[in-house]
Symmetry: C2
Subunit: 241 residues, 2 copies
Amino acid sequence: MKKLRVLLTREEIVPDRLPGATAVVLDVFMATTTLLTILQNGARGVYPVASLEEADEVAAKLDDEEVLRGGEQDAARIEGYDHGPFPGEYAPEVVGGKDVIFVTTNGTRAIADAAPAERVLLGSLRNAPAVARYLEGLETDSIYLVCAGSAGRFTVEDFLGAAVILSYMNVEGWRLNDGARLALDFADRHKDDVSGVLEQNRAGRWFVENDRMEVFDFVADVGASDLVPEVVDGKLRPAGG
Amino acid sequence: MKKLRVLLTREEIVPDRLPGATAVVLDVFMATTTLLTILQNGARGVYPVASLEEADEVAAKLDDEEVLRGGEQDAARIEGYDHGPFPGEYAPEVVGGKDVIFVTTNGTRAIADAAPAERVLLGSLRNAPAVARYLEGLETDSIYLVCAGSAGRFTVEDFLGAAVILSYMNVEGWRLNDGARLALDFADRHKDDVSGVLEQNRAGRWFVENDRMEVFDFVADVGASDLVPEVVDGKLRPAGG
């Protein structure tokens, strides 16, 4: 039977079980939302990396003139980097024609953790319906929706992203793990109040309390993007492209 | 502000943060349910241990004649052990006056992981209301409800146990983490259909499909016990006793 699983933190990944599977990595605040945006806004190359060291290694192979570095470590900006973790920092006029190397504390590490999978996709609220459609069109009998979480802990926003993706799929014929079943139950109750869920939880509340509603609203915009980024050889490209 | 957190797997524990806190460990199928039962049924000493080696160490200090060993490893019975993981194996006439050493794959390891906490309690569906009352009577500003999970993965039954405990508490004045908020939301929807939730998920389904309904019903009997086991120096005693 085909298996569809939601992992509530990246720590739930068992690398040995990933070969042959399709993994969708979700770090809604912010890595996968921002990476989607960078790809969508016309960067030439987008490179999610797991560490500052790996960022240096990737940079060494690229043309210095055209390289931008961005992300965060422990929610702080990175010294010497061009940009932070927020999607608004990567407008088309900023990233067009550039190579962007992007590193974050949780999200890009989760992408690295998922690397043993046959196929690694990036999910977020913005592209949730598109991810669901793409998954339904795939020939695969093993799907993992991987919530990045934060420092090893569950965060509701990634789970909400997984829940919304599931809510757009027909899961009949799939065996669901407990996490997937919980996600469907959660979606059933909350999928029409995504902003409400985000506001009440830790990361989302921060954006509300610090008056960063433009970021919050961007993140929460379910279905705003039809793009499904896939990680191929450490670089993003549109899935199925 | 006082903090109340639900950890969705034992892997979410950060040992450095536990000192001074009260931790409630939940492994509903079966370790904490069975340990509660062993204590309730009159064992002289109940020793949850993290490994077979530790079981040997503890046994070496006890009177051989009065020692029983029980538990499971990877869901299989343990060679040379007297009993398995199920509560029905520990009737009063079996455990009365005995020392019971108990080891399981997930639950007793979660208890060991929680050891840095000031206070370690055992929770289950059966004693959920009693645990809630006990927590409300404590002078503490830091509570962790630790779902054991299974092999690093989320399992809904432990989460349901945490949710039911929370549903009996007045959480006003507590700062909740995302896991706790999700648990309250889940309780709000499902606390009156505990058996229904268990049946639909992996572990619970096993008992239904294998006609072990007496175990299933025992586990699901919310409020059947008023006992709250506390782990003190590796041994169980009634909390507050």
